[in-house]
């Protein structure tokens, strides 16, 4: 049975089915985005309640937002022209305009993806004195050296530790050439399996010697070293099957057998079963531990989420960031900011000069106002980008590097939704809008690539479908017309 009113209009409403359907849908979409815009307003109003939280203005690249706006406007025009082409029964012209529409959608998403990736790679660090340092974080791990003992809880034991040793061994800079720290497959010798307070003697339980790499060396000789970053990548590419294990009887164990051993220990009867399997590494390793991994740590040990504890010495505990901007609005006296202890003196001199210049300029232009009481003037004077003035050994320019001791870090994050409410609402709204762009592009693409059949059967039917698809596309454009000034310009 043919569905009525798919092409011809109903007599009472004068509308065909899809037309009333799409407008009902768009009405609900207005409420969806209206709710989010309303949320934005609440967050913006609420930001004023905290004098230390400065709603980020002019944070986004206006040029990219502007290009995206032009791209969507162009796509709106071309989708209308595609509909016009169908109404005039010009098939090839329809295909041309619809293709351009889809190309604009792809361009929009590419620019949006580029913007997002830049935000995800860019971070801010708030120091304990209120200074904010922006830039790219190079290194943000606790460095433990001389890690030579690990303890695996028997309950829920796994070989995550071995993955951990592979992934997080740190390239020790004070070792030339071959270095034990480069060797991720440390030879592990056994410790007696402990049962609570009572330690069993060696030999009472089967113990496991863990080695790794391409060749197992029972005498603990160093393996082929992995000297460079490239070699490190090669080390990372070793599959789990490359690990070899030898027990004290000289029998070769694979990873699965080692896991079974641990499981067997776990199945020992109560009273005999130890709470943990302690292993000693014959080659102490240096581990770079990402800060999110340990549930607890101190100067001599850290514990992972699965209960594995490693013992060594805390060697380094700082955050290494290439600084491209600083924000000292929350520092009462900018000359005393902790940032200046971390980067060359020349940046301080330049910052203070620029600050004073901009404040004086504002005061001259607005005699009745105090610059430091005006948010915009404060932002312009106290939030300053840095230039790439440092030259490295290869002659390349780069930003100054700050090694921030962890005890000076109050908070840090990449520019993701968790950083502040601005980014939360920005990613929510532009992300949802982007999903609508993708959805609309899929529908329009379907008309472009599979519409010929409908066109041949009933061209007016396809024209109606393209019209409703175009209505959705125009709505997506409307949302962006408001999003662009709100997010990028206000």
């Amino acid at each position: 049975m043919e569905i009525p009113y798919t092409v011809t209009a109903r007599e009472d409403t004068g509308l065909w089915n899809a037309k009333i359907g799409i407008w009902l849908f768009l009405a609900s979409e207005v409420m969806l985005f209206g709710g989010l815009f309303s949320g934005y307003i609440f967050l913006r109003i609420g930001a004023g309640a905290d004098p230390l939280y400065h709603w980020p203005t002019r944070t986004l690249q206006v040029e990219l937002g502007f290009i995206n706006t032009l791209v969507l406007i162009a796509s709106s025009v071309t989708v209308v022209m595609a509909w016009v082409s169908l109404k005039l029964r010009r098939w090839n012209q329809f295909r041309k305009y619809m293709f351009i529409t889809l190309a604009c959608a792809a361009a929009f998403m590419c620019i949006k993806s580029y913007e997002y990736s830049k935000k995800f790679k860019h971070s801010s660090v708030i120091l304990t004195d209120g200074s904010v340092v922006d830039g790219h974080i190079h290194q943000n791990s606790f460095i433990y050296e001389g890690v030579n003992e690990v303890s695996i809880p028997v309950e829920g034991a796994s070989l995550d530790l071995l993955d951990f040793l592979e992934d997080y061994h740190h390239e020790a800079h004070d070792h030339g050439g071959h270095a034990a720290a480069h060797d991720p497959y440390a030879q592990v010798v056994s410790l007696p399996v402990k049962d609570g307070d009572k330690a069993h003697g060696e030999g009472e339980h089967e113990v496991v010697v863990v080695e790794g790499g391409d060749e197992a060396h029972a005498d603990g000789a160093e393996h082929e070293s992995h000297k460079s970053e490239g070699d490190h990548d090669q080390a990372d590419s070793h599959s789990k099957g490359d690990l070899t294990f030898t027990n004290v009887a000289g029998e070769s164990l694979n990873r699965k057998q080692l896991k079974r051993y641990i499981k067997e220990v776990g199945m020992m009867p109560d009273g005999e079963r130890p709470t943990s399997i302690d292993l000693r590494l014959s080659h102490p390793v240096e581990l770079a531990v990402p800060p999110r991994m340990p549930t607890s740590r101190d100067d001599s040990s850290f514990t992972l989420r699965n209960g594995v504890t490693a013992r060594g010495r805390l060697k380094e505990d700082f955050l290494d960031i290439a600084v491209d901007a600083i924000d000292l609005r929350n520092v009462p006296n900018q000359e005393d900011s902790a940032v200046w202890q971390l980067i060359p003196e020349s940046y301080k001199t330049s910052y203070i000069e620029t600050r004073d210049e901009r404040l004086n300029e504002f005061n001259e232009e607005h005699p009745g106002l105090v610059a430091l009481e005006e948010p915009e003037a404060t932002r312009v004077a106290l939030v300053q980008p840095f230039e790439k003035k440092e030259i490295d050994a290869d002659g390349k320019e780069h930003y100054p590097t700050a090694l921030i001791p962890r005890d000076q870090v109050a908070r840090y994050s990449a520019h993701t939704p968790r950083w502040n409410t601005f980014y939360a609402i920005y990613f929510t709204m532009t992300g949802l809008h982007g999903l609508h762009v993708i959805g609309g592009a899929i529908v329009l693409g379907h008309f472009l690539f599979f519409g010929k059949r409908i066109y041949d059967k009933n061209p007016e039917h396809l024209a109606n479908r393209v019209e409703v698809g175009g209505l959705f596309w125009h709505f997506v454009d409307l949302v962006w017309i408001f999003l662009f000034p709100i997010m990028y310009l206000f």
């Binding site: 409403t13 004068g14 509308l15 037309k19 009333i20 407008w23 009902l24 009405a27 207005v30 409420m31 209206g34 709710g35 815009f37 309303s38 307003i41 609440f42 109003i45 609420g46 930001a47 004023g48 309640a49 400065h54 709603w55 203005t57 206006v62 502007f66 706006t69 032009l70 406007i73 162009a74 709106s76 025009v77 209308v80 022209m81 016009v84 109404k87 005039l88 029964r89 504002f362 232009e365 607005h366 106002l369 005006e374 948010p375 915009e376 003037a377 932002r379 175009g470 209505l471 125009h474 709505f475 454009d477 409307l478 017309i481 408001f482 662009f484 000034p485 310009l489 206000f490």
Partner: protein, 113 residues
């Protein structure tokens, strides 16, 4: 909404013109935000700047809705559906206004960024 091919042909030029107007409106929006001359009210973002920016955006939106989405000549049922939507949207944003005038809220909105 135009139905016959002749009517549709006659509207083609209008569609391209609206596209041009939208581009100009976007340029104007950026100029208003970036050029000091257009900084209404006091320095920085003030309610005058917000009203101007939203007025430009609303004008652009109107062109898209009326011309591209054919709302300048649509059937009455569509208008009735959208009337409900407009009422609810106004109610939704009225909540934001209520939050602004609520004395319990930090009463310094216009003086902050």
């Amino acid at each position: 909404m135009a139905d016959s091919p002749e009517e549709i042909e006659a509207h083609i030029k209008k569609y391209w013109m609206v596209g041009g107007i939208l581009v100009l409106g976007t340029l104007l929006t950026v100029a208003v935000a970036k050029i000091k001359f257009f900084d209404l009210g006091g320095p920085g973002l003030t309610w005058e700047d917000i009203v101007l920016g939203l007025a430009i955006a609303t004008t652009k939106t109107s062109f898209v809705v009326l011309i591209f989405m054919h709302m300048n000549n649509e059937k009455s049922l569509i208008y009735k559906v959208l009337m409900f939507t407009i009422v609810f949207v106004i109610g939704l944003f009225f909540l934001s206004y209520l939050a602004y005038v609520d004395p319990a809220v930090y009463d310094n909105f216009w003086n902050n960024e």
